[in-house]
Structure formats: C-alpha cells, structure tokens
Symmetry: none
Subunit: 249 residues, 2 copies
C-alpha cells in the first residue's frame, strides 16, 4: 500500500532529555490532532517508560515515533523545515510568528510538500547547526523578561496554531449555537406588557417625564439580546408579581 | 496613591487543587506578561509552598495574588467576565475562540473597562454556578478525541492570545461612546434584588426546579449588556411594583 500524502507536519524533538517531557509533548500534539512525532537522539534511550507514563491517552504517538541519530536525517525528506527558538541566533533566517508559520506550512502541505518543525532540548535549545537546516525560525512572542517556555508548552502553542490554520470551522466571531432569538414582535409584546403594568403601578411619574421614561424603557428592551426563553422569563416574573399583588402579598 | 487603571485582565483560578498547578499557571501567565492572579478557595490553603517551588521566576505573582472565598467576590469589580470551559453546559452564553475572547477583552480594557477570565479546578472544570457569572465562554479548539488541556496549558493559550491581541495596537471603533456600563457588582446586586422579590412572590416553583430557574435568571442578567441607567430602571420597576402590591393595588 502506498504511503498516504503527509497531511500534517512532523514535530521533531531534537535531543530531548527527560522522558516526562517527551510524553507531555505527545499529549500536547494530540490535543491539536497532530500525531507524527520524530525523535533525534533522545538522551535516555528509546523506548522510555517515563515518556509512556506521562503520555497517557497519547501513547500511540510514542509507539509510532520515528527515532533518528541526527537532525539532518530526521528532516531529510522534508521540503520545508522551521525551527522553534526563543532567542535570535545570529543566523539570517526568516522569522515567523507561530500563526504565520503554521499558515505557511498548511499552505505548503496543501501543495503536496512535506514539512517538519524542530524543537530543541529542554535547557539549551537548538544548536546553530540544527537551526542551519531550517528554512526559517518560529519565534513565540513571549515576555522578554520571562521567556521560559518549556518543551511541551512550545509544542502546545505550535500545535494550537496548526489547528487554527487548518480547522474548517474557526470560530473567529462570537457564536451562540442553537439559540432561538426573540423576534421583534415578541420584544414588542414584552415591552408593552411591562409598560402597561408599570403604568398601573404608577411607575411613570412625574407626568411630564412619563413619555421620556416610556421611550427609554422601550429602547432598553430593544437593545437587549433576548432569547425567546428570556422573553418568557420576563413575562413570567411580571405575571407572578401581579398575582402576588392581587392576593395581597 | 490612586490605583492605576487595569491594563490587563485578572486571571481567576477557581478552587485550584494542587499547588504545583497554581505555580505552573503563574509561570504561564508571566510568560505572556500577565501578572494579576486571583484565587478562589484554593484547596490546600494559601500561601502554598508547592506553588512557590513550581513558580520559580514568577513567584511575584503568587505574592501579589488576591484570595477570595467565592467566585462572585473575585469578579465583583469586573465589567466583563469570560469563563474557560471545554464542554457546552446548557447555558446560553456567547462562545468565543481564545483569539476572539482576548481581542474583545483588549478592546474593552482600552475603553477603560475591567475584565477577568475564570479557570476551573483541574479535574472537574467550572461549575455552572460559576459560569453563570460570566458574560461568555472561551472554548479552545482542541481535538475532540483528546480534549485534555490541563490548567496551566489553558492559562498558557489564553495568555498567548492576550499577548497576540495586545502586541500590535489595533484601532477599534468605539460603540456607544459615553456609555457607562454597569459593573459586575451592580449586575449582581440587581440579580439578587430580583431573585429575592421573586422568591417572595412564589416565582420559583415547583421546588425541584427552583435552583435551575434561579441560575438561569442570574445567567440572563449577566448576559445582558446593561448600562448603569438600565440597572436603575430595572431596580426602579421592581420597587414600584412592590409598592403597588403593598398599597393593595
């Protein structure tokens, strides 16, 4: 059976140290639907039981992870490689925000290319020799006074941007799914109900302010984003309080 | 010295359990320049040495963290509150992507408002009673097969979007210039006023539905874009109708 075309980038962990961090990175990838992990010379060998313990629920990624001796081998088949690094490194490379990086990778993958993202070892970060293999750098806009993202966090943010770049339904705007909004007639009826009862109750006082008060009240109802159910609640409260009045408290 | 205007949202951890997670959340906040942490009833008390050990480098946030008994107190002064939650909860609330959420909060803060973001306890997530206090929900677009973000990861992604929303100044059209919006404490007071009177009037009936009805009503008030003047109108109507009742119609 032929290999299906790469529909996502490989995430390459270069010389990761603690197994726990590899497991946490696997979880972070799978949180955003990514499952192609590659490892370059993991310090404590492979497989690593501590990675498995931490990965719970995303252990499949570890089983399927490919292990390489060098970064060059790990990215050998890729058409486009980006390196995550917090610090500028004195190498001339295009610098991408995570968002721009994943948009670029998504576009290239749609064009049939293969892509990989490099993540450095926990403390040291990527060596210049690894960064030199990349077409560009991903720089996360962290607080310059505290740029201490760990490996799994860096994977998480990159995976999040991958998902944003590729999910068909990106809710950029506010939605309120399944909500039945009240229509204008229903809002009008509600407004009249309150106006009538408030008139009876003597709310619109003094007389010379009554018209302005009524207009403001109508305006208030019409400005509110009321659902059908909200409208029923407001009717219900008013009816109940009138019943309370009628039975003398 | 007068308090400087809020230039960032407060991040409110509701009933956090392990100290390590509070420390990790502090680090995640400070990675993106956020330093206003609030805690609601931390399980293991406060201060917590495990939180301090984990927060290394961001310990200042823990020293400055404000601790509250209830979520309502923690968000009392906020004009706009969003709740992070993975699951739809059967409450009618606007749903924001992290990006849309932080853009909205950034815009409101530029307009002089105060904002807060709620994060639930590690396992259980936020209770509906907490979510009812929020104006909307933040939903992270995770893999539906593996939606297992932990507390610090959720804080990290939200903080990241805050940084993205604020690192470039995007102009926003000011709507309803000069409007004084009601703050959360004023909305709460209004909500309580209606709840108390409606209780007296026998609105919350039958008994087994009373709690749901109350929660829905609180949720209704918190969803409405009420001005100070609107709040006064609603108080005024209710007071007047009670007077009407008291004088026997």
């Amino acid at each position: 059976m032929p290999t299906p075309p790469a529909s996502q980038p490989a995430f390459v962990l270069v010389e990761p140290q603690m197994g726990e961090n590899i497991g946490a990175a696997a979880r972070a990838m799978w949180n955003f639907g990514l499952d192609r992990m590659r490892l370059v010379a993991p310090r404590d060998g492979w497989p690593n039981p501590k990675a498995v313990a931490m990965a719970s629920g995303a252990g499949r990624l570890l089983d399927a992870a490919q292990v390489f001796e060098t970064t060059a081998e790990a990215v050998g088949e890729a058409d486009f490689v980006l390196a995550t690094t917090a610090r500028p490194r004195g190498l001339t490379k295009p610098v991408y925000s995570p968002e721009a990086a994943m948009a670029e990778i998504a576009a290239r993958i749609r064009d049939g290319q293969k892509a990989a993202v490099l993540f450095g070892p926990e403390r040291a970060g990527l060596e210049n020799s690894d960064i030199a293999l990349a077409n560009g750098i991903i720089s996360v806009p962290v607080n310059p006074d505290f740029p201490s993202l760990n490996l799994a966090q860096c994977v998480l943010l990159t995976g999040y941007e991958w998902r944003r770049a590729t999910s068909e339904v990106t809710p950029r705007t506010v939605e309120m799914a399944g909500t039945e909004w009240a229509n204008q007639a229903e809002i009008d009826a509600l407004s009249r109900h309150y106006e009538e009862r408030m008139e009876e109750a003597g709310f619109f006082f003094p007389d010379h302010k009554a018209e302005t008060m009524k207009r403001n009240l109508r305006n208030l109802w019409s400005r509110m984003p009321l659902t059908r159910s909200d409208v029923q609640t407001f009717h219900g409260m008013l009816r109940q309080i009138v019943r309370w009045k009628d039975r003398g408290g």
